[in-house]
């Protein structure tokens, strides 16, 4: 640890005062560095940078047409508790779910924040555009968004409702809900926008983006959908713990079966992992306790834009996929395992094919190890 980056004794003691063990904090910074794709050496640098910040970064967190699942996900982050670190590093000035003030007093806070500006706006939930279908303080949610986004330094849309309307915007979208990007277009607001698709958001993604901003003063590299490449650069299939069974043609055909107990591949049970870009297998959920596929739940593709309609029939196997390595053979789930078992490279080829099938262009560095 170089002198310049050394975290002061005083700061670590202050953290302990806040109930955060120094070992946990340094581990947190190490974990954050890993999330950001930096070497572990950067851990102490992150700690030092956060210490130097004299003023906690203000955050305004608006809930629109959401179910508060992303707020819930956010406060489930632990080991070490980014929730606590964020409470101390950030200044969460407005979040209706946790703030003590209400009604008039909370409106005052929002008004004064808009005047001061300089905050990161976190958006949870899509924005209804049908009159009267979404109101806060007797005002249309779209107006509340417009006024608040106007003074933000950057906007982070968390969860699939915020990025494209999510489940409540699925066909036929009864309240005509739109995502944050569309709302910015509609209201003529131009601000940096980071999309964190997932239902709900993985809290580690949110913490990673915020720390990236505080550290480097800029938003991370984004893909063509505005999602950080560090979290959305590879498919779930790429990193799945059950991948070897896919390649070996060993599949679960019934929930709770001996094959499930052996951790075989869930492809035939409808798993959308091959078409879904997210770091779920690496980062997992709830303090890395588990994740969907580990617990025997086939991926429903909730990190993808429009997933509720795109992947409808969550338990139906993905439709036949082309395997270019075998001369453009189209295979359903039944054949796929057998073909994969003989062609060791097929798995990778399937990945490329499904990527093309879903209309995505692969990022230059995506998929590389």
């Amino acid at each position: 640890m170089g002198k310049k980056d050394e975290v002061s004794q005083q700061f670590l003691e202050a953290l302990e005062f806040r109930g955060i063990k120094r070992r946990d904090f340094l581990k947190y910074c190490g974990a954050t560095a890993a999330l950001l794709g930096l070497s572990e050496v950067y851990g102490p640098k992150i700690a030092a940078a956060l210490e130097k910040a004299t003023k906690r970064q203000p955050v305004i967190w608006l809930n629109f047409a959401s179910d508060s699942g992303c707020t819930e996900a956010f406060i489930k982050a632990t080991y070490p508790s980014p929730a606590e670190v964020i409470l101390d590093i950030l200044s969460v000035d407005y979040n209706e779910t946790i703030m003590a003030a209400a009604g008039k007093q909370s409106e005052e806070i929002l008004a004064s924040s808009r005047k001061t500006g300089g905050y990161i706006l976190i958006v949870e939930g899509g924005i209804p555009t049908k009159k009267g279908h979404g109101m806060i303080g007797n005002r249309e949610m779209l107006d509340v968004f417009k006024e608040t986004a106007a003074s933000a330094v950057a906007v982070i849309a968390i969860g699939s409702c915020a990025t494209d309307g999510g489940v409540p915007a699925a066909k036929p979208n009864p309240s005509q809900i739109i995502g944050t990007g569309a709302a910015m277009e509609k209201t003529g607001i131009k601000k940096p926008l980071i999309n964190l698709d997932l239902c709900p958001v993985n809290p580690e993604y949110l913490v990673g983006v915020v720390v990236n901003y505080l550290l480097l003063g800029k938003i991370p590299d984004l893909d063509h959908l505005g999602r950080p490449k560090m979290f959305y650069g590879q498919t779930i299939h790429d990193n799945c713990e059950r991948r070897a069974h896919f390649d070996g043609g060993r599949f679960v055909e019934k929930f709770g079966s001996p094959e499930e107990a052996l951790g075989y591949c869930l492809y035939k049970m409808g798993c959308k992992g091959p078409m879904t870009y997210s770091a779920c297998p690496k980062i997992q959920y709830n303090a890395r306790t588990s994740w969907c596929i580990k617990a025997g739940g086939p991926c429903i593709g909730c990190a993808e834009r429009g997933w509720t309609d795109k992947f409808a029939g969550f338990y139906e196997p993905l439709p036949g996929v082309k395997i270019p390595g075998l001369g453009g053979v189209e295979a359903g789930a039944d054949k796929l395992g057998a073909i994969a078992a003989v062609a060791t490279a097929a798995g990778i080829a399937v990945h490329a094919a499904t990527t093309a099938a879903s209309g995505r262009t692969k990022d230059k560095d995506g998929g590389k190890k």
Binding site: D88, A170, P174, G256
Partner: protein, 530 residues
């Protein structure tokens, strides 16, 4: 007469507006308004029924598991499939962990700031080292001038009764509870994959085959939660209660209670669930009445829907139609459900009252012991109100956590006998109808499914907060929260802390409430799911 509008109502889930009229320092009339409409039932039409348990979890991110389970139960009913014993127990476990996390979160992070004056904690004179540290942390936080979520609140309001030292302990536990609610959610994730939005309870049971490692891990996690609930959570209830016993009669409401029952028994008899099914009416407490779904009627005279005839959910007809806020005409997206024509309170207090009246031994002992400790032995009616709702959630949290430990042992016993089944396979019939009746932490939850040509034809939900936060019915009878607000003394109409206490005591969850639309008559029928 002064009119107070609280909009947004904070420290709840979702978007709620509260209006009260004050006369002579007391609430004379009240109106509750759900201000967001999403329309989940329309979205479900035409889809593969098996998708419904995932989609309905997105009705509520606070109690997704309850929606998921209720949905899968409606399909278990429709497809005539029953989960094996381990499947039943694992669903109970995933649900139980959600109850524990939800109650901790509500007590400390949503409700406590109505009773705990954070700024007063600065005046405490703690002797114990860890409390000194918390106080120093709080001091540096306040001195930074950036109060974050604690800014612009009602600190110093005369309705705050706790001495500084107790306030400080509560602040310390506020922080500790943040960790504990996350740990409780990890237990849901252990068997559910993640929380919120668990992944492993489709119709037929659960997908996951628990390993010895899972069960060992589970039991020790539950032990940690139990120890914390016994030592800290119940301790805080008993430490805070004496200072607020004067508020015991506040926020009574209609005192009619409904529970569909939750935590399935091996017999699958809803009256034998850990928290049993039943209804209790104020007029003849403590008699327990049958709670039947066919006795539910929904009124829409004061809600933003077309049509005004009260109807049973199975034959409901409603179209959303926003006509502006007018308390004399229509003023909310929530409908007004009634059981046998009566407004019903739902939630932990309702479940504990029904359990107590049904003679459930664990609930009865917990309640009797607590009543004795606060000097009201033999008078359970004293719990009808804001203090009772706080007590009921705390006691229920203990009851559920203790049962969770036993459920883990039950699975181990099954495995010892060679019974490892967690899932029963089924075929989706061409036509089928089913009902799932269950409880979310916030109260009675029902899903109705109608399958035609293996697709969802109709899907309907009647959810907890709709019961509590509903408007007046066609006869002009107020909803439970509206009724509970009447007579509440308000010291300062600029800072209506006492109003917030009554509303928070119901733990409202508006995302659940205002999505309801009945498919029979709605006109958006011509879409196809790709």
């Amino acid at each position: 007469m002064a009119r107070i509008t609280i909009d947004p109502m904070t420290r709840i889930e979702g978007h709620l507006r509260i209006d009260v009229e004050i006369e002579g320092g007391k609430v004379k009339d009240a109106w509750t308004t759900g201000t967001l409409f999403r329309g989940f039932e329309i979205i479900l039409q035409g889809r593969d029924p098996r998708d419904a348990w995932h989609i309905t979890q997105r009705i509520c991110g606070v109690c997704p598991t309850s929606h998921g389970h209720t949905s899968s139960m409606s399909m278990d009913d429709a497809f005539k499939v029953r989960p094996p014993d381990n499947g039943r127990i694992l669903r109970n476990i995933i649900e139980g962990a959600q109850f524990v996390h939800s109650h901790i979160l509500w007590f400390y992070h949503l409700n406590a700031l109505d009773y705990v004056d954070v700024v007063s904690a600065l005046k405490a004179q703690p002797k114990e080292g860890s409390l000194k540290k918390v106080q120093a942390k709080l001091k540096s936080f306040v001195e930074s001038g950036q109060l974050g979520p604690f800014a612009n609140a009602y600190w110093g309001h005369p309705a705050y009764k706790l001495p500084p030292d107790v306030n400080l302990i509560a602040v310390a536990h506020y922080l500790e509870a943040l960790e504990m609610q996350a740990k409780a959610a990890q237990v849901s994730a252990l068997f559910g994959g993640r929380m919120p939005m668990t992944m492993t309870s489709p119709p037929g049971g659960v997908t996951h085959v628990p390993t010895v490692d899972d069960l060992k891990n589970y039991l020790f996690r539950v032990k940690e939660l139990q120890a914390w609930i016994d030592n800290v959570f119940l301790g805080d209830l008993l430490a805070i209660a004496p200072f607020y016993l004067g508020a015991a009669g506040v926020g009574k409401g209609p005192a009619n209670f409904l529970s569909w029952g939750v935590f399935e028994d091996a017999s699958f008899d809803p009256k034998k669930r850990l928290l049993p099914r039943g209804a209790v009416f104020a007029a003849d407490f403590p008699k327990v009445h049958e709670a039947k779904p066919e006795d539910v009627m929904e009124h829409t005279k004061y809600s933003w829907y077309k049509g005004s005839k009260p109807l049973n959910p199975a034959v409901g007809e409603t179209d959303p139609e926003y006509t502006g806020y007018d308390v004399n005409k229509k003023y909310t997206w929530a409908k007004a459900p009634r059981l046998q024509g009566k407004p019903m309170e739902v939630g932990a207090l309702a479940r504990m009252v029904v359990a107590y009246a049904s003679g459930q031994p664990v609930a009865k002992k917990l309640i009797d012991d607590t009543l004795a400790k606060i000097g009201h032995a033999g008078k359970p009616q004293v719990l009808f109100g804001i203090i009772g709702r706080i007590a009921a959630r705390t006691l229920e949290c203990k009851m559920v956590a203790d049962s969770m430990y036993q459920w883990g042992l039950d699975i181990i016993e099954n495995i010892k006998k060679g019974n490892t089944a967690v899932y029963t396979d089924y075929k989706i019939p061409n036509k089928a109808q089913g009902i799932g009746l269950w409880e979310a932490p916030r109260g009675a939850l029902g899903h109705w499914i109608d399958v035609d040509n293996k697709r969802i034809k109709n899907y309907q939900c009647v959810v907890p907060t709709t019961w509590n936060v509903c408007p007046r019915d066609d006869n002009g009878m107020r909803g439970p929260i509206e009724e509970a607000l009447i007579g509440t003394a308000v010291h300062d109409s600029e800072k209506p802390l006492e109003v917030m206490r009554v509303v928070h005591s119901f733990d409202p969850c508006l995302a659940c409430t205002v999505h309801v639309i009945h498919p029979e008559s709605n006109r958006i029928m011509d879409f196809k799911v790709s």
